[in-house]
Symmetry: C2
Subunit: 303 residues, 2 copies
């Protein structure tokens, strides 16, 4: 007897495929448990994101994180490491990955109940850190990040079974409407958009360095339709310390930044311990562990 | 006896030069004359721009202009003409120049008292159209326009003596905070920032096609200082038909546009009939008349 496993989120197809309705819940835990209110949980289920109305971190906490981010960016050992991704055009540092493992301050941040507690509530289980990074969008030359679903990549290239994962973006500098702030198409997390094109070996080496990768990008018609159905785009701005949680399957991106104001954010990705990685669904080999952790130890203290 | 003419706004220098305080007024006419109120004139003198609180043009008027803009974009004869500028990467049309001479609808627009009347008041004289264009910033692939002062270019390459000129941008599509809307550093019009680099022959052929020309761009330190002194950046959004007037020496630009929403605007440049063009101040030859008109006939009817 043989069992055929069906991939419920097929992607990296030879030709455009139909959009797939999400098979999985968005909110897995109990809205009554907190820290989010039942209304905030409903908002997250509906729009795919939650932006805390007040900054989650105070000025002193942000100063510590910003100093740590600056230290990591200029650390010569890290700069020589694959963890550090450099802007194609300007050669400035664009991202440093796996910051929760190279920095005690970011390890503490990942375990902070203001973040991990929300992840545990929304994902309905203990959680592990799938990925962490600091993004530095420099002033004047910061490039755009084109529309994408993180889950599409994590499923195809990292072997994440379901979209039982979420990201939180924490502002280290003020996010204005005009310095490349996060854009999300609300409600897009309820649709899985398959992407066209076979994943080449070592794809992450180019996909993280260019602003317009050719594999793992949704086609323009799908993005246009999602935005039309949503009736618009949500943009996230706020002072340092503000935080936006968003579902792993949100269609999101950001414009470039010609202003003198750098946009620097920390991204932490939490996944349920019931959603650990297997072999990639649509790539020849898994990505390195600094991009997609295979340490599924729950973060923080048990509830 | 010989007379030495001194250029009060020297630019295209061999090395970075000091910033030059503006030698000329900003508002030349009488604030009591209208159509702008004295308070609006003071605002323009102070910040360098005036954004009408309500759309200047109604839905029917905008429809006519939009259809005309679409017709010009797809006109095969114009497409083959130098007047039409194509995006470097996508080969989509980025701008069509001299629209007030190829289209009766745009000629009427240029003479409309809601626009020309404001220009006459602020510039304190009859006015001529120095330049007109439709900008099409397509969805998904619209590139940025880096920071620049229009007057710096018009002085260097077109021989415009003084910043006694202004632009008006009229929205044909909704300008959101996230589809590449106009950014102005308020107060920057009071400082002339010389640019480094000799103007090569035929410079306009490349400068209008690339997103990062190397000549005629201010250095990053100057832009950062102007933004610091201003305490921020002004961004202009609004529904179709809304209009922003801004002084010719404003430091301005716009980000790229990854959203599905194209940003399409009409730009009209009015200059005082007492500010007609001479030989270029810092270029080997004047630019063609479709970019810099040498027809100084006053627009519209005399007041």
């Amino acid at each position: 007897m043989s069992t055929t496993l069906t991939d419920r989120y097929p992607t990296r197809l030879p030709e455009p495929g139909p959009r797939v309705p999400r098979h999985d819940p968005v909110v897995w835990g109990d809205p009554a448990d907190g820290p989010l209110s039942p209304g905030e949980c409903t908002g997250f289920a509906d729009r795919g994101h939650h932006h805390a109305p007040e900054p989650l971190f105070g000025p002193h906490e942000v100063d510590v994180l910003r100093q740590e981010a600056a230290r990591l960016r200029t650390d010569p050992a890290l700069r020589a490491d694959e963890r550090t991704v450099v802007e194609e055009a300007s050669q400035e540092v664009r991202s440093v990955f796996e910051v929760h493992r190279v920095s005690p301050a970011f390890a503490r941040l990942a375990a902070d109940p203001r973040l991990a507690g929300v992840a545990r509530q929304l994902l309905g289980s203990e959680v592990y850190v799938h990925q962490s990074r600091v993004n530095y969008k420099p002033g004047f030359t910061g490039g755009p990040f084109y529309w994408h679903s993180d889950f599409e990549t994590w499923h195809a290239e990292d072997g994440m079974p379901r979209p039982r994962a979420l990201s939180v973006s924490i502002a280290l500098t003020e996010n204005f409407p005009y310095n490349g702030s996060l854009l999300i198409i609300p409600g897009s997390h309820r649709t899985f958009v398959p992407c066209v094109g076979r994943t080449p070996p070592g794809h992450h080496r180019t996909s993280l360095r260019t602003h317009s990768p050719t594999v793992g990008m949704p086609d323009q018609d799908a993005v246009r339709e999602l935005a039309e159905e949503a009736g618009g785009i949500d943009q996230f701005t706020g002072p340092p310390g503000s935080a936006t949680f968003f579902d792993s399957n949100c269609m999101h991106g950001s414009n470039g930044n010609i202003t003198p104001y750098p946009r620097s954010n920390i991204f932490l990705v939490y996944s349920s311990v019931e959603n650990t990685l297997g072999p990639p669904y649509a790539a020849p080999a898994p990505r390195p562990s600094y991009i997609a952790s295979r340490d599924f130890t729950p973060v923080g203290e048990a509830r």
